[in-house]
Point group: C2
Chain length 412, copies 2
């Protein structure tokens, strides 16, 4: 039984996390929000208050924090008496926040893999390069650390575990499909931090095929599926966190991730990439100023949080799983459909932030209740999926399944 949550980060996902924690503060206790910019924390608190999201009267505080500073992070964990830390800040701070949790005993949750600013697309499996190097230490210290517990990675890992546990005797392939069929009405924008977004696509595309790491380039391999609600959609094989844990934790020969892109997105991306504007390596201007092009691209693009008020349409994210059950070939699609407008009305964020921000709160509730307080470092597929997906059914991200019996809601 743990309580009191420290949320690190103050972007669109943090806003969802704050609202959802507030909606469950009877279980989660005090809430603290920390980021480099205390103003952004206070804006989130104002939004939580405006929407009356707190279930019961409780503490909700803002804090300025450089989360790369382990000592400062430890001090804040202790000052706020937080036993659960939800890290939804930049992907560059994972290892320092994790270290602070290990040293204070707080449970650690994040939604994306650690990255170093000057490195892109390192050797697979990516978790081996950073987080998993602390696995033994977490076990020794009895620290609960749940890695990648957003939607993808996160919920899709739970879908994979559910498929493996309930629907298949053996699995041939897991293809994770992520389609955003929404429209933000701007010339171009990314749905989360442009820096992290583009970094996903500029390196090699790693997939797990025939039990081997396979490398492709972005937009080299595509597929088209007829998906529930959003219809026929083309997606492209993309490097993504969950491939790097599912391939190691499940006995599945093929794990691939596919993301949907429109032609306009691909054109803009291609121009920027070919010009070198998505590079994480600094260039020097004629005036002698050293600058990372990708950071300038980020600076000119819309703040993803600013898209929320006018975002319409739906997302569809799920796992196409193929394998055998009772000697028969079988295929299921386990998925969620979320609506941008509904998300905005509930928590003031768009659907992409919503799908990423609700799951870590569900996980925090499971830690608070004890179900998932496992005293070690795990990826989501290593945990029982039912309590998690059951909570998400109630919290706004219901699970559905499409198989030979049709398309229906899944209850747990």
């Amino acid at each position: 039984m743990k309580k009191n949550v420290l949320i690190i980060g103050a972007g669109g996902v943090a806003q969802v996390v704050a609202h959802k924690c507030a909606q469950h503060n009877d279980i989660l206790g005090d809430l603290a929000i920390a980021s480099r910019s205390i103003d952004k924390c206070e804006q989130i608190i104002a939004s939580v208050q405006e929407k009356n999201s707190l279930k019961v009267p409780g503490k909700l505080t803002s804090h300025a924090l450089n989360a790369l500073d382990v000592e400062a992070t430890k001090a804040l964990i202790r000052e706020t008496d937080s036993q659960i830390v939800i890290n939804v800040g930049s992907a560059f701070i994972n290892m320092s926040v994790l270290q602070a949790c290990i040293e204070t005993g707080a449970a650690y949750l994040d939604t994306a893999i650690h990255e170093e600013p000057n490195k892109i697309c390192e050797t697979p499996p990516w978790y081996n390069n950073y987080e998993w190097q602390r696995r033994e230490l977490c076990k020794q210290q009895g620290v609960t650390a749940i890695l990648g517990v957003g939607f993808d990675p996160g919920v899709v890992n739970a879908y994979a575990a559910l498929a493996a546990n309930e629907y298949f005797d053996s699995i041939d392939s897991i293809d994770i499909i992520d389609v955003n069929a929404g429209s933000h009405g701007r010339y171009f924008a990314t749905n989360f931090d442009p820096e992290i977004n583009f970094r996903e696509f500029t390196g090699q595309v790693w997939s797990w095929q025939n039990r081997q790491w396979t490398s492709n380039t972005m937009f080299e391999v595509k597929r088209t599926d007829d998906l529930p609600v959003v219809g026929e959609q083309t997606t492209y094989m993309t490097g993504h966190d969950e491939v790097h844990s599912l391939s190691q934790n499940l006995d599945v020969p093929n794990v691939r991730f596919w993301m949907g892109f429109g032609e306009h997105y691909i054109n803009v991306f291609t121009v920027l990439k070919n010009l070198g504007l998505l590079s994480e390596q600094p260039v020097t201007t004629a005036e002698g100023l050293e600058v990372v092009p990708l950071k300038v691209v980020k600076a000119v693009l819309p703040d993803p949080a600013s898209l929320a008020p006018n975002y319409t349409g739906k997302t569809c994210i799920g796992d196409i799983v193929k394998g055998q059950k009772d000697g028969q070939d079988k295929e299921v699609f386990i998925y969620n459909v979320a609506d941008h407008k509904d998300a905005y009305n509930e928590v003031g964020s768009q659907g992409i932030s919503y799908t990423a921000g609700v799951p870590p709160v569900a996980a925090a509730i499971l830690i608070a209740r004890g179900d998932w307080d496992v005293a070690e470092m795990v990826n989501v597929e290593q945990l029982p999926p039912q309590p998690f997906l059951g909570l998400l059914n109630e919290m706004g991200l219901p699970t559905r399944i499409r198989d030979e019996q049709g398309d229906r809601a899944l209850n747990f």
Copy 2:
């Protein structure tokens, strides 16, 4: 009679100017090259020596200069005993170099209009905002200043003057067509300083139509012409320097400038512009660094000078002039075709730099000889075109004409 030339700037155009000055140093005397980077000056000198471009033994020196510093520029003019200054540096330095010339009595030549870094596309006619404010002072001091004496502006202004003097009683329209049908083999590059290049296209497109300034947006108005050598070409109405002097100096109701662009160029430009990456106004990165996006784009694009070795194909630049002669409607196209490979073989630069760099040297020779040493500030159309075009016929940029009598070389 003036002699000794100071070349300011050390880019691709300066390289052409240096070679061409060297080829005529019997008339022009000592040559000095100055830029912020003395290394680039020395590379040009090495190229001049490598190709044995000096006609007679003579001085050729390099100098580090911040040309925004009027006193330093005056000192260098005096130190090098230069009576002619060819300014082919950035468009931001025109006014300070001009001031240094006025205060030392040196003749001033440039190839592009003055610009302020933080302003784009000011009120027409552009020359009124900067250079022409020194017109009276030049006259009082007897200083020769020939503005915009590259190819366009420059040679095309002489073509317009020639048409007005020789081929028409009255002119209805001058349409200046600039087509680069060459290929550099790179994903994307600009043919001269990307910063200046893009600034031409991000503001309003000013044209002179029915004796009024008319505003359009870039790529809004296009035309297609069947041109000599390069064939059928689509060009787009573009704001350009020469429209701003020809409209004031010639009695012509319509003066327009048209530049050729391929679909790929337009796509890249459109993406960059719509994202805000061509802005001359600084943005602030998440890390707090203030940076001008356009300068970062410039930093990632190929150095235009680096395109020269692999550049193939031809340019076609000229004036389509329509009007009346002896009571008859008449149309002529006065033009030049230049070859990228020929330019590289002669002076180590590509064709765009060649067409821009040869004309100011021809003008310098005319000043040295006295023909164009007019002791006042003028644009090229205010000078007799024949000696200029005659020299260019010998110097590598021959003039041709296409009219009702066919397509032929023009001799002067």
